[in-house]
């Protein structure tokens, strides 16, 4: 784990009296390696380490008698600062229904997250409607319907038409039924699929969601920044959800996505059941990334 690795580095250096700037640079290389092994994007890791080195020099750690601990504290605090920021609650519409649109790559956990979110909103006294705009994936509509049944939330879809029409019709239906929040599930898509990214833009333009959440798999590696950057550019999401964090992936994607998009991480998926949803805690994820 990082504290031990770092103390190893500094034990070697300490024998030489106080550490020099070169020693600090060696330590920073070790930090960069830890971040890369935790799946932090290499450009983000490089920048992060440079910022930490600057802070460390500014804090005069070279004069410290416990440089390793002091540097680790700087690294940890910087990490929390970078991935944290205010965890604001989801926006609500002045005039219902509030629309929350859920997007992301294939298999990241969107449909499951929609169920978890609807479940949570229901527990808060809201009346959600799940809209199934994924007409592509075999049995996706059935999956969302089943999820809705499991949590006692209505769902709407229509396999005979287009995703855009489903969204429009679903919106009217929500109004009709007096639903105050819509959780809109969309098909997984690649950021490099121009047609599907355009479809998402159309849906967003039509429904004007109050929140657009980018759902990313917690075990994603270096590619996390590619997808996140393009989704931000073309769709502009308002928040991030990291799923499958009940595994042992270090979750460096959290830092990568946050760093390049500067959008808040709102939720963490922690299991397959529909109650496995947690509000994001930056210090927990930071400790996990540092191992």
């Amino acid at each position: 784990e990082i504290t031990e690795k770092f103390e190893d580095v500094f034990r070697k250096l300490k024998g030489q009296g106080k550490i020099s700037e070169k020693h600090l640079a060696d330590g920073m290389r070790e930090i960069r390696r830890v971040l890369l092994e935790a799946d932090v994007n290499y450009k983000v890791a490089k920048q992060f380490v440079a910022d930490v080195q600057e802070k460390a020099l500014g804090a005069d750690v070279v004069k410290s008698i416990t440089p390793a601990q002091q540097i680790i504290k700087i690294v940890h605090d910087e990490l929390v600062l970078l991935i944290g920021g205010s965890s604001s609650p989801l926006k609500t519409a002045n005039i219902p229904p509030t629309v929350i649109m859920v997007v992301g790559l294939q298999g990241s956990g969107k449909t499951t997250f929609c169920g978890k979110l609807a479940n949570q909103l229901k527990a808060q006294g809201k009346k959600p409607l799940l809209i199934g705009a994924d007409l592509q994936r075999p049995a996706a509509v059935e999956q969302l319907k089943t999820v809705g049944r499991q949590i006692g939330v209505d769902s709407y879809s229509d396999l005979s038409t287009t995703p855009l029409s489903v969204c429009k019709a679903g919106f009217s239906l929500a109004r009709q039924k007096g639903c105050d929040v819509i959780v809109l599930d969309t098909a997984g898509r690649l950021h490099v699929d121009e047609a599907l990214m355009q479809e998402l833009q159309q849906i967003k333009g039509e429904l004007k969601p109050h929140e657009t959440l980018f759902v990313a798999d917690g075990m994603t590696g270096q590619d996390a920044v590619n997808a996140a950057t393009v989704f931000l550019e073309k769709i502009d999401f308002s928040g991030i959800v990291l799923t499958k964090m009940d595994g042992d992936a270090r979750g460096g994607a959290a830092l990568s996505i946050k760093a390049v998009t500067n959008r808040p991480i709102k939720y963490i998926g922690t299991g397959e059941k529909l109650d496995a949803l947690e509000i994001f805690h930056p210090d927990r994820v930071a400790s996990r990334i540092l191992g």
Binding site: L36, D39, L105, Q143, M219, G221, G247
Partner: protein
Amino acid sequence: VSGKTRIDEETLEEIEERLIAADVGVNTTLDIISALRENLQLRDRNDSQAVLNCLKSELIERLQMNGSADTASNQKPYIIMVVGVNGVGKTTSIGKLANHFVQDGKRVVLGAADTFRAAASEQLEIWASRANVEIVRNKPGADPASVAFDAVAAAESRSADIAIIDTAGRLHTKSNLMEELKKIQRAIDRKMPGAPHEVLLVIDATTGQNGLTQAKVFNDAVKIGGIVLTKLDGTAKGGIVVAIQEQLRVPIRFIGVGEQMDDLQPFVPEEYVEALFS
């Protein structure tokens, strides 16, 4: 600069970044770079094209342990079990695989042994009808081991050539789910001793270093016979397979390059390495 016998450090740094960016991982990257330093001829060290070619052959060699992508086995029915963590593309890959075998004139039976996830059996049913193959399924919540058992039984009684068993996605960290997987495997073996003849582990190309842990833990639970690397039609390179292949010594059998039935290709190391550097 004594540059004539040393590879240009800037070139090496670029290579390192390229490999890291492809999810090859720190350890494997450093290993590859040191192999490069050793193997690159003195005369080539200032030729960046030669350096790149040496790097490519180094990677191809590491990915070379490719068994034939076809099940040229004399087992009948040949039983394949598909495993992996959640959402990586198991069910979709099974649909594509079924179609691939049907094109080869084989008779295929699918087993919907994911009885847990919402609409999992319905999803596989649609693939079965697309590939024009039979499917064995049960109700949600049924014992997955018994569905697998029944699928093998059906494959035998219908003289199918191949049976492919779908399993629920599961994180390797969940020991009860890994135990369930072993139970499914035992049930298959009970019905047909020696089966499953091949366990395919599906890895998502967007997965980072956790992919190696997944491979090791799944391999400890059920012996992995091959890897399917999916979602290579995105921008992710799936470089973690280099480390997986080295440590597990299992071939990468197929790659997934899209969501349609035809989007499955045999893994070709040269093509994969070329795409890594494009």
